[in-house]
């Protein structure tokens, strides 16, 4: 073995050399008087440097109590957190209003009673986490109101939409790769049906929502909604889901939700009234739901067909 360099000697003396290398140094020093002498010199140097630094040490005082809590009032922390939240709320509101108005133009008025605006199951799922969210939103909304009074009535409307409508907010079209990244896996779709578009959406209680729009025939477009639950809602899901339903179950749609009537989609130029049923099914960590202007039996069959979109 060649002589040991200074860096290695210091690493060795500091006890930071890997055991194997340290044994190598031991072996070399044992049969090399020159390195043995240098080892002692470096040891003395380290001791001396330590002594000098000790001369320049601050006076040794009692450990003061941890006063971190009272140095800065928590209000300042809140301010830091809430400002970005206010911005986020503003953006969410803008999107919400846009989607809301956009739908109104696109689809005409819908006949909806409060009772059937959201399927009962979804309500049950969201109910336990909603109070906290509602609180947070109302705080943010209140802040927005304070900063921009004109936005207040719209703000209320925007949140009504978020909470009351199960659709959440449909965002801009995305690619399948983006959808994959959002969901942490392949999005699910009905095999064989052409995909018209993939959208990103936002919905309370879900960390990611991706909507795959598929064309069944010239008049019929279905939406396959892929929802990835947010970790926050996970325990709520376990509690509220049917006990028989395992998260990885891929069998038949266990928890078909009551369908609800919907006024016809004017764009599809369909007959006056058509049932738009919604059903859902778990697929690994995703919750899959299909909606569209076809019978609930058809939707149920389609739901059984869904497969991951392979790259």
């Amino acid at each position: 073995m060649s002589h040991v360099d200074d860096g290695t000697l210091h690493t060795y003396l500091d006890g930071e050399l890997a055991p194997a290398e340290a044994r190598g140094v031991d072996a070399h020093v044992a049969q090399c008087p020159a390195c043995r002498e240098r080892l002692e010199e470096e040891r003395a140097l380290i001791t001396r440097a330590g002594e000098l630094l000790a001369l320049a040490a601050p006076p040794d005082r009692e450990l003061p109590p941890f006063r971190a809590g009272d140095v800065r009032p928590p209000t300042r922390l809140w301010w830091r957190v809430r400002l970005p939240l206010a911005w986020a709320a503003t953006i969410v509101l803008a999107l919400g209003i846009g989607t809301y108005l956009g739908r109104g133009v696109e689809q005409g008025r819908r006949a909806e009673t409060p009772a059937d605006t959201a399927p009962a199951r979804l309500r049950a799922l969201e109910a336990p986490i909603r109070p906290e969210q509602a609180q947070r939103e109302s705080r943010v909304a209140a802040r927005g109101t304070a900063r921009k009074p004109a936005a207040a009535p719209v703000a209320a409307q925007g949140f009504v939409r978020l909470d009351g409508e199960r659709d959440g907010l449909k965002g801009s079209p995305i690619g399948v790769d983006t959808a994959r990244a959002l969901l942490g896996g392949d999005p699910l779709a009905v095999p064989g049906a052409p995909i018209r578009a993939v959208y990103r959406a936002r919905e309370l209680g879900y960390s990611a929502v991706v909507i795959v729009e598929q064309v069944l025939d010239s008049n019929t477009v279905i939406e396959v909604v892929n929802r990835r639950r947010s970790p926050m809602a996970l325990d709520q899901v376990v509690v509220t889901a049917a006990p028989a339903a395992r998260a990885d179950s891929v069998s038949a749609p266990e928890r078909a939700v009551p369908s609800r009537a919907r006024v016809a989609d004017s764009l599809a130029a369909a007959p006056a009234e058509r049932a738009a049923a919604r059903l859902s099914r778990r697929f690994a960590n995703l919750e899959i739901q299909i909606s569209g202007p076809v019978s609930s039996d058809s939707l149920r069959k389609l739901l059984e067909l869904v497969q991951p979109l392979k790259p």
């Binding site: 200074d6 690493t11 001369l55 320049a56 601050p58 003061p64």
Partner: protein, 167 residues
Amino acid sequence: MPQDLAEVYRTTYRALVRFLYRKVWDAERAEDLAQEAFVRAVVHKPDNARGWLFIVAANMARDEARRAARERRHLTLLTAEPQESRSATDEALDVESDRARVRAALDELSPRDREVLLLWDAGLSYEEIAAQTGLARGAIGTTLSRARRRLVQAYEAGKPGEHVARG
């Protein structure tokens, strides 16, 4: 989290003050900065609180030094540096002059060598020092050997020097 941080506080506070003191050369100020670093840790909840604290402390000390340098430019003509006042007793003078000599010797080191040496002296491992300074772990030993040698040489060279007028 507060529990963890309380433990880090117990084990790291003094090391942090020691580290900061060699940068700001004012015990009170070093303690204030250390407290401030912990306050920020409470807010940010970093994963590796210990390493994070030293990074924050180094940044605060650098800002502090800049500000002090600015202020010194204005004050030089008005007041004398505390280290240059010679009104204390001989014993206090010796302690003070030793400290001033070590300080002067530390100033002779390159910023990187000084940083590594101070971090080691504050109790950080090679691993932590490497993470903090961006140096390779394998370079820490070499850096430390150079820093220690220069510190001792600069101190010995400055012994009869201009900082003290003994006897």
